[in-house]
């Protein structure tokens, strides 16, 4: 193996793959067969973190950055003058196995530029997974990026060897996609997803009857949207995510703040800052939908299509619905306790079990792990709560922002420090 060439390829193809956000190794478990390599559990492990703070769990690379498409937002687009490279199947397998043996990674995340056509590309990705599983007896995690337009037959095979499959829908709106990726169409992205979804459902049915059914994409599907490359609003993004959770049973939707890397009149200028705070708010909204029982149109509505950057979406909702507060901790149901700003899922559960033994005070609440500096304005303790007089205060929002320090505070003050 030519080490220098391999190193060069790895640099090019890791660099090109880094904008894909998904890197989790969770959701599937694969036990080591006796004497083989690898064992993955549902919780996953992050083996290191890059200097931008993202976790590294998988070897995330492209098979090749040669691409026949010319999507404006993508560094690998055909019209971009960059170094091109392609791994052989053997090279990817070798890197995965050797990194895994040294405990650098939990497995492989393999994506690719599209060469020749969808099926040729997909077939090559599947071949890597197949070789890892069948020839190397590898039980680590494999995430394959499905290629839009890939045939059902290839998707079927992919699902047998990979743990997770995903297709990035990239641009949240159809019109945005037309503008930035005129050669792609939404249907080509959705069809493989639909196929996998029905396969997973079928697997679950069969599993009830037969004990031994081959695993079928056990860690499910995910997708990703680029935020801030086109002028879609947050409401549209949240609606799209909601649609995927409801109709495709997706495990995760990822949001990727657009990093301006290309000069193009259709895109934000190169000097535009990465919308990190907006991305963060979108993730918070995503959590509200998946774990807090919020519906998409409760978080935002057409009168308010953008998320408040100053406060998190749950607090924002509470401030718009003061009529629903204060909430009595002794009597309110779990779903409502979850809606109190500063109280998360774990704390809400602890509250519901602890209140059976005693009447909870603000001190108890603090010990149970609530962010009392926010929660105290929204709770009616039986003993009375002095902070409640602020609930109708016009300045409640200011009071709340003043009582906490945001990790994004720098971003608010940036303009001032310029002068």
């Amino acid at each position: 193996m030519n080490f220098d060439r391999l190193k060069e390829k790895l640099e090019i193809l890791a660099d090109a793959a880094k904008y894909d956000v998904s890197c989790s190794s969770s959701g599937g478990s694969r036990k080591n067969k006796k004497g083989a390599l690898g064992d993955s559990s549902a919780s996953g492990i992050c083996h290191t973190y890059t200097e931008d703070g993202r976790c590294v769990s998988l070897l995330k690379v492209l098979l090749t950055n040669h691409c026949i498409y010319d999507c404006a937002y993508c560094v690998s687009r055909s019209s971009n003058d960059i170094k091109r490279a392609a791994f052989t199947v053997e090279e990817v397998v070798d890197l995965t196995i050797n990194f895994y043996r040294r405990n650098y990674i939990e497995g492989l995340f393999l994506s690719s530029g599209i060469f020749k056509n969808a099926d040729t590309t997909m077939e090559r990705l599947v071949r890597v997974a197949k070789k890892l599983r069948l020839e190397e007896n590898f039980n680590g995690y494999i995430h394959l990026k499905s290629i839009p337009g890939a045939s059902d037959l290839l998707m079927q095979e992919a699902a047998l060897y990979a743990d997770r499959l995903s297709i990035n829908i990239e641009i949240p709106t159809e019109s945005g996609l037309k503008l930035l990726a005129p050669e792609k169409n939404r249907e080509d992205m959705l069809n493989p997803m639909k196929y996998i979804q029905s396969g997973i459902t079928q697997y679950k049915e069969e599993k009830k009857i037969f004990r031994k059914v081959p695993k079928f994409a056990p860690a499910g599907q995910s997708t990703q949207m680029i935020v801030g490359a086109t002028n879609e609003n947050d409401l549209q993004i949240i609606k799209v995510a909601d649609h995927f959770y409801k109709n495709y049973n997706l495990k995760r939707v990822y949001y990727s703040g657009y990093v301006p890397v290309l000069e193009d009149t259709r895109l934000p200028a190169l000097t535009t800052a990465v919308p990190m705070l907006r991305e963060n708010r979108l993730y918070q909204s995503d959590w509200l939908m998946r774990f807090y029982g919020f519906k998409a149109d409760e978080i935002l509505d057409p009168h308010m299509p953008f998320l408040d950057l100053e406060v998190d979406p749950k607090l924002s909702w509470a401030l718009r619905h003061l009529d629903q507060f204060p909430i009595n901790l002794q009597s309110a149901d779990y779903q409502m306790i979850l809606r109190i700003p500063g109280i998360g899922v774990k704390t809400a559960k602890k509250i519901v079990s602890a209140r059976r033994f005693q009447v909870l005070t603000i001190e108890n609440l603090q010990k149970l792990g609530a962010a009392v500096n926010r929660a105290k304005y929204f709770i009616d303790f039986n003993a009375g709560n002095v902070f409640l007089r602020h609930l109708t205060d016009l300045n409640l929002k200011k009071l709340l922002i003043g009582g906490s320090t945001s990790k994004f505070q720098d971003q608010f003050s940036q303009q001032l420090t310029l002068f």
Binding site: E11, G53, F99, N103
Partner: protein, 253 residues
Amino acid sequence: MTILLYDGSFDGLFTAIFEVFEYKFKDVEIISRERFHQENIFAEIHEVITQEAKSERVLNKLEENIGKSGIHELVKVFLSEEPDLEQIILSAVKQSIQYPKENILQNYADQDILRIAKICKSVSRERHRMTAFVRFEKMQDEVFFAKIDPDFNVLPLIRKHFKDRYQDQKWMIYDLRRNYGLLYDLKTCDFFYPEEKIDLNKYQQKFHDEEKNYQTLWQRYFFKTNIVERKNLKLHIQHVPKRYWKYLTEKNW
């Protein structure tokens, strides 16, 4: 005041706890021989001889009361190497004997129990980090070797994890601070305790021919997968505290 001196082992500690009940000692302190410096000259010294039968009787009784998971929590406290670990564990055992029907480990209002919960959280965090941050280096003798230096003595807690994961390669994890390690030789996976400190510098020069190449590949990968425009060092350090850096391949180049 009675001071019970034990050999520092887990069974030794539980033998001592058994004898606290057996001899109805009231005012006691359990100390491992290694850490014992006589300060209290009026204290009575009681030498404990480790007896598995006694230790097991305490542990069996405890398991009835607080379950396997409860025992596991006490093991974590033991491995935390906190200076007062004997006192906290004794306190938990006493409470459990007094209230056998309840899982006293959930009584977070009690100071000692809250300590146990906190220690368990720290030890579990360290355990998890050691499953993530161990970096193996392939040696000429085909053994994948890793050095660790965890704050808590978590090697016994990660044995199963690595045993399940790497069954077709020989590997060794060595705790530098405590001078002992784990060795898997394709058949068995056991602890070993070298008589003298291993001369690591000598051992480390015997890298397998391919080792440096894969280390370089990993370092380059780590560098290239970073998005410069999103730099966030504070978050980075929060996730990978600096004390681990010297053992991380990607941090040393």
